[in-house]
């Protein structure tokens, strides 16, 4: 996950929008549009047939002090302290080091709250065709699930679903929005406390 996306996540905490976990997506949508300025660059990948977006921004403001912290084991705890989304590069379903850090925290949280069940949704940006993106979203969701299972989470606790390009969290039609919309979203289905 790149710096820009970390900033978005941090902003969500700062604005307190992340605290209401039952309907997370509209809240993030508003936040995703907020940070400015943003520099968008395109660099060639090894294959030379696709471009990869790099989104950078000024370092995030220190925000943790402003937040008192959600109750451990709650949906808000998972959202704020663990992180519910990992972000994929264009056309890819590979996890980078940042993504793996988030998934390690997810796995640890799931070990702490063994009643919790999750649904991992795979999402794609709008710059692909519908059916291929459904397949790609499924591949992304499975990548997340497989990694959590490799960390010891019981596969029976993890459902997956693909939304293809049907569930964007950022409205825009630009590199920044597309980077946000290529994600694996872990939703707690049941078993959270408080």
């Amino acid at each position: 996950m790149n710096d820009f996306l970390k900033t978005v996540a941090a902003s969500a905490i700062l604005l307190g929008l992340g605290a209401c976990a039952s309907q997370p997506e509209p809240a993030e949508t508003e936040v995703a549009e907020a940070p400015e300025p943003v520099v968008v660059e395109e660099t060639e990948t090894e294959t030379n047939t696709t471009t990869r977006s790099t989104v950078t921004e000024e370092p995030a403001e220190p925000v943790r002090e402003a937040y008192s912290g959600p109750k451990p084991g709650s949906l808000a705890d998972f959202r704020v302290n663990v992180g519910e989304r990992v972000y994929f590069d264009l056309d890819q379903s590979r996890l980078d080091a940042d993504d793996r850090e988030i998934l390690k925290r997810q796995a640890a949280w799931l070990q702490s709250y063994p009643e919790a069940r999750i649904m991992v949704a795979g999402n794609c940006d709008e710059r692909g065709t519908r059916e291929y993106n459904l397949a790609l979203g499924e591949r992304r969701a499975a990548t997340v699930k497989d990694y959590l299972v490799s960390l010891g989470v019981d596969p029976a606790r993890i459902d997956t679903i693909s939304y293809g390009k049907e569930r964007p969290i950022a409205e825009g039609s630009n590199e920044r929005a597309w980077a946000l919309n290529r994600n694996g979203f872990t939703q707690i289905l049941s078993g959270a406390t408080g």
Binding site: E25, P26, T29, T47, T49, T50, D91, S93, E126, R127, G128, T129, R130, E131, Y132, L134, A135, L136, E138, R139, R140, A141, A142, T143, K145, D146, T160, I161, S162, E166, R167, P168, I169, A170, E171, G172, S173, N174
Partner: protein, 453 residues
């Protein structure tokens, strides 16, 4: 002479279908530019007694003119210019009067309310310069008797008769299009199954919008469709009967099922199933409900479409590193690829860019696709052997081609610019006659019906 128009049109079609063979030529948009000029045709008011019969006659003539205009092949003569005002379906028109206004073809029609309440509609098509009636199915004219509510269908049927008589092609105007009606913001989009006549009339929603629905496709019957829905949590392929409203899930699969499409004989549905992150192709026989796995490859295989003879399947796969089109035999036997080697699936797209959503033409010789290249999307066609790629359209997002049942026109959806909602469009196989189809809301995933009964 009308004969020369037909010849010119046939030549234009032949040209459009021929592969681009210029030495070193680049693929360009709108290759195969139709050379036929639109044929001048006059559609005067239908004869009728004042009252109901005349009202239906006026409406039928108006829809008929609109249909002929939609084909892009006709120039409709303005009624104000008409000299002869006493046309009679039983008598020869005064050819000289119609030659003066330079019309090649003339439609003479009449409507009548029968004592039993039904509507009778008759018409004849005249070749003005040839000074003779153009026979339709061996008859000097054609007549329909029906309940008056069907007047619009009659207009489409007359349009198809004229189109067929003057082009030698099957008609496509008496058809419907099923699509996804979209409302609401991008991040909370409501998607309903909807249907309309091919000219945009008779708009109707088929689902409530409570669940996201995607990618509807018609069966060989105009009443049965298959599509994908998120109803019930796991996304699944469903069958839906338009007439009865009856809906059923297709089969009992562990994973997501998606990308459904009927086989051309209507007896089976091809689709993808995703399991453990990988998508493969399947086919299910609708009578026996037996499924068969068609591919088992570790990369994505999706969007299957069967050839009209039922022997081959074209699909999208990223087994080569990016989405491209592949052809395989229905019986999974090896085939000789365009590259010369033998394999169970042959890649047919080698141009720059990504290719997906292949749809086999009803004529069997072409495959329509969506192409993505350097931030632009295109609708194009390619020979089944991978030769003769032609791009027909280009925009920010053009996706999801569907063939008219005669294989002459392709409908698709377009987001004209970033942030613009999708709308339905159609384009001729020549790359000409690009038109937006009227829908009350944003719309995507069009699928053209067969000719109605």
């Amino acid at each position: 002479m009308i004969r020369s128009f037909i010849t010119a049109l046939a030549m234009a079609l032949a040209f459009a279908l021929a592969p681009l063979q210029l030495a070193g030529a680049q693929i360009t948009v709108n290759v195969g530019d139709g050379t036929a000029k639109p044929l001048p045709i006059a559609v005067p008011e239908f004869n009728a007694e004042p009252g109901e019969a005349r009202e239906y006659g006026d409406q039928i003539a108006e829809v008929l003119r609109s249909d002929l205009r939609l084909t892009g092949l006709f120039e409709l003569k303005k009624p104000e210019a008409f000299i002869q005002r006493d046309l009679d379906i039983g008598a020869e028109p005064r050819f000289a009067d119609w030659k003066i206004i330079q019309t090649d073809a003339l439609v003479v029609g009449e409507t009548e309310m029968l004592p039993d309440g039904r509507l009778r509609v008759a018409f004849r098509l005249w070749d003005i310069y040839g000074e003779q009636v153009m026979r339709l199915g061996g008859q000097p004219g054609r007549q329909y008797v029906t309940t008056p509510e069907n007047w619009r269908r009659i207009a489409h049927k007359i349009a198809d008769s004229i189109y067929t008589r003057l082009t030698g092609e099957d008609g496509y105007l008496d058809t419907r299009i099923v699509y996804i009606a979209e409302t609401g913001p991008k991040t909370a989009r409501v998607k309903k199954l909807a249907i309309m006549d091919a000219d945009g009339a008779n708009q109707q929603d088929l689902t409530s919008g409570a669940h996201t629905v995607l990618t509807p496709r018609f069966s060989t019957s105009d009443q049965e469709i298959t599509y994908m829905s998120y109803e019930g949590g796991t996304p699944r392929v469903y069958l839906f009967n338009i007439e009865t409203g009856r809906q059923e899930v297709l089969g009992n699969f562990d994973g997501m099922t998606f990308a459904p499409r009927f086989s051309p004989d209507g007896r089976s549905v091809l689709f993808s199933q995703a399991r453990g992150g990988n998508s493969d192709l399947y086919i299910m026989d609708l009578r026996t409900r037996q499924e068969e796995q068609l591919t088992s490859h570790p990369d994505i295989d999706t969007s299957p479409s069967m050839s009209p003879d039922g022997r081959q399947i074209v699909f999208t796969s990223d087994r080569g590193g990016s989405p491209q089109l592949y052809v395989m035999n229905r019986d999974q036997s090896a085939l000789t690829c365009p590259s010369g080697g033998r394999d169970t699936a042959c890649r047919i797209t080698f141009g720059e860019g990504r290719y997906s959503t292949p749809v086999w033409s009803p004529r069997g010789d072409l495959i329509a696709f969506t192409k993505q290249l350097r931030g632009r999307f295109y609708i194009g066609v390619i020979g089944t052997d991978g030769k003769g790629e032609r791009l027909l359209t280009e925009s920010y997002l053009d996706e999801g081609p569907t063939w008219s049942p005669n294989g002459r026109v392709i409908a698709f959806f377009r987001e004209a610019r970033p942030g613009a909602g999708p709308r339905l469009w159609s384009v001729d196989l020549t790359g000409k006659n690009l038109r937006q189809l009227p829908t009350p809301t944003d719309a995507s995933d069009p699928a053209w019906s067969p000719l109605l009964d």
